[in-house]
Amino acid sequence: MSTERRQGDIELAGVGKRYDDIVAVEGINLKIPDGAYCCFLGPSGCGKTTILRMIAGHEDPTFGDILIGGENVVGMAPIERRTAMMFQSYALFPHLSVRDNIAFALRVRGVPKAERYKAADEMIEKVQLTELAHRLPGQLSGGQQQRVALARAAITGPRVLLLDEPLSALDEQLRIQMRQELRRMQQDLGITFIHVTHTQLEAIALADLVVVMERGKIKQAGGAREVYVSPHDRYVAEFLGGQNVLSGKVEKVNGASLVMRGPKLEGFEVPVAGKTAVTQGDKVDIAVRRDDIRLLRPESAAIAPGNPHLSTRVQAIEYQGYFVKVMLDAIGDDEFVAYVTERDFFSDPLKVGDIVVATWQSDHTLLLA
C-alpha cells in the first residue's frame, strides 16, 4: 500500500521547452506531492499548457527530466507513464456513445467486450451518467460532457490526471458546480490532479498547490492562501488580485523593519520579514490587501500613530453584494482600491468625488521582492 500510494508524486528537474527560437518553458524545477491538487496559473502563452503536455507525454521537453513516482518518464508513451489527460474541449469521440467513449481505453487494450462494459458501467455510475450511457457526446450538455471526459480518463487507473483548462467551456454557474465536482472526484480517486487555468479564483478555490507562471518561468509556488496573502512579487500580487501594489523609496533600514516613503505617502514602517536585503535609497514595492484599507472622513479621521495614511478622492464605486469596491485616485501609476464591507459602507455612504483619508495598519504591509 505504502509504495502504491507514493507513485503519483511528480518532480520537474530543469525542464524546458524550445520551439525553434521561442522558449516556451525555461528550465523549471518543481515538486508536486502524491495526491495533491495542483493548479498551474498564468495568462495565455505563459507555458503552463506546454508543461502539462510534457508531463502527459504529448510533447517532449527540449531539456530536463520529468520524474513520476521517482521514475524518469521522458520519452515514454502516456499509457506507460500511467497519466491521463482531459483535453480542453474534452475531445470526446463524436461517433461513439458515452459508454463506448469511456470503454475506449480498455477496447484498445483488447479487454473482452463484457468485461470492458462492466468496468465502463461502474465508472458511468460513479459520475452519475447511467441514464445517458447510450447517448452520443453531441447530445450531452457541457457539464455532462465533462463528466464523460473525466470518466474516460480515469478508467485506466492513472496515477496522475492532467486537466487542460477543464472549466473554460462552461458557463459561470456550471463552472462553480463542476469545480466542486472535480475536487470531490480528486478526493475519491486519491490521485494527483494537475489543472491548468488562467482564472485566479478557480486556482485558489481548488488547489493545494498553486503554481503561478509568467513567460515560461515559475513566479511562485505555494498553498492557495500563501500565494494570495503573501505574494512574492508585484507580478504575483497583481495577477492574483485583491492587493494594492505601491512603490516607494527606502528612507531608513532599522533591523526588522524599514521606513518607506512613496508618492503621497509619508514615511511609515514596513516589516522586512526576512526579505531580500534592502538598503537605504532602494526602490521597493509593497502590497496592501484591499480589504485592509480603511476609509475615513477627513474631519473625523483618528489615525493611530505610525500607521500609513493618505488623503485621496473617490473615483468610482461598484456595489459587489457583500462588499463595496471603492476606487480611489491612483498613487503614481498604481491603482488604489479599497474593499469596504457592505454594512460599513452603508453606515456612512461615500459618493464619487468625496475626499477621504485612507489608512491601514502598518504591520499589514507586505514587502515584495
Binding site: A56, G57, H58, A77, M85, F93, F104, V108, L136, T156
Partner: protein
C-alpha cells in the same frame, strides 16, 4: 411632468405592406428561367428516348414505348454500348478505390506542415488546370514512345487519376480541416496504437467525407471524356461510345443511352447518400436501443 404634445399624424409608423417586394418576383422569374435552361435540354432528351418505332431525333413525340432502349442493347449497328458500359463501370470503380485511398493518405499527411508541402500541393493542382485533351494526348504519346499500347486499364486509368486525385485531395482537405487533432491525441493518451487510432477514430469520424470523395471519384471517371479520348486504346469507354454514336447513329436510341446513363448516375449518388444516412441512423439507433 413635462407634457409632450404629439402630432396625430406623426405617431403612425410607416407600415410595411403585407406580402413580398417586387424584387422577389423578378428574382424568382430569373431563377425559374435558369432552372429551365439547365434541365430543359436534358429533359427533352429523356422524353424523346421514350418514342415508339416511328420516332425521330426532333419533336414532336411520335408515340410512346421502350423500343429504343431495346434497340440500344440488341442492335449491333448502334455500337458496343454494353461493352462500353461495363468498361466504364469497372474503370470508375478502380479509379474510385485508388482515389479514396490516396486522398485519405494525402489528407493525413497534410495535417501538419512539412518541407516542400506547398510545392507538392501546387503540383497536384497543376494537373487539375491542365487542359484534359492535351494531357490525354501526352499520356498517349508517352505510352507509344515506350512501346506500350494504350489500354483503358492502364493509360486511361492514369489519365483519369490525374483528374480525380486532385479533386479527391481537395475534398479531403476540406473534410480534414474540421477534424480536431485532439481526438487523435486523446486516442493516444488512452493507449491506442497509431493503427487503432486510424481505424477506431479517424476513419469512422471521416466516413461521410470519404464517401463524398468516392462519389466524386466515381462520377468524374464515369463521364470523363477529354483525357480518355487518346488513352483508352482500341476499346471505348461509355462516353467515347456515345460520342462516336453521335457521329453515325441517327435514331432515338442515342437518347435512350443518355437516359440510361443518367439513371445509373442517379442510382450511384443515391447509394452514396443512402450509405451516409444509414451510418448516421445506425449510430443514433445504437445509442437509443441499447
Amino acid at each position: 411632468m413635462t407634457t409632450t404634445v404629439e402630432h396625430p399624424h406623426r405617431r403612425r409608423p410607416t407600415r410595411r405592406r403585407e406580402g413580398r417586394p417586387w424584387t422577389f418576383y423578378v428574382l424568382a422569374g430569373v431563377f425559374i428561367a435558369y432552372v429551365l435552361a439547365l434541365y430543359g435540354p436534358m429533359f427533352c432528351i429523356y422524353l424523346l428516348s421514350f418514342q415508339d418505332i416511328r420516332g425521330g431525333l426532333v419533336f414532336p413525340m411520335k408515340g410512346f414505348s421502350l423500343h429504343w432502349f431495346n434497340d440500344l442493347f440488341t442492335q449491333v449497328r448502334t455500337g458496343d454500348v454494353k461493352g462500353g458500359f461495363q468498361r466504364s463501370i469497372q474503370l470508375a470503380l478502380l479509379v474510385t478505390v485508388i482515389t479514396v485511398v490516396v486522398s485519405f493518405i494525402a489528407g493525413l499527411a497534410f495535417r501538419r506542415r512539412f518541407r516542400g508541402d506547398s510545392i507538392v500541393f501546387y503540383l497536384m493542382i497543376g494537373s487539375l488546370v491542365a487542359p484534359g485533351l492535351v494531357l490525354g494526348i501526352g499520356v498517349g504519346l508517352l505510352f507509344q514512345y515506350f512501346g506500350v499500347s494504350p489500354h483503358w486499364t492502364t493509360s486511361a486509368l492514369g489519365a483519369q487519376l490525374s483528374w480525380t486525385l486532385p479533386f479527391g485531395v481537395l475534398i479531403m482537405f476540406a473534410v480534414m480541416s474540421r477534424f480536431d487533432r485532439s481526438w487523435e491525441e486523446a486516442a493516444r493518451d488512452l493507449g491506442a496504437t497509431p493503427w487503432q487510432t486510424i481505424w477506431l477514430v479517424i476513419v469512422p469520424i471521416l466516413t461521410p467525407g470519404i464517401v463524398a470523395v468516392a462519389l466524386f471519384g466515381f462520377t468524374l471517371s464515369y463521364d470523363e471524356f477529354a483525357r480518355t479520348l487518346q488513352t483508352s486504346g482500341s476499346l471505348n469507354t461509355l462516353p467515347l461510345e456515345i460520342w462516336s454514336m453521335t457521329l453515325n447513329v441517327t435514331s432515338p436510341s442515342l437518347y435512350a443511352l443518355g437516359t440510361v446513363t443518367t439513371i445509373v448516375s442517379f442510382v450511384i449518388i443515391g447509394i452514396c447518400l443512402g450509405t451516409i444516412a444509414l451510418i448516421q441512423k445506425r449510430r443514433t439507433q445504437r445509442a437509443a436501443t441499447h
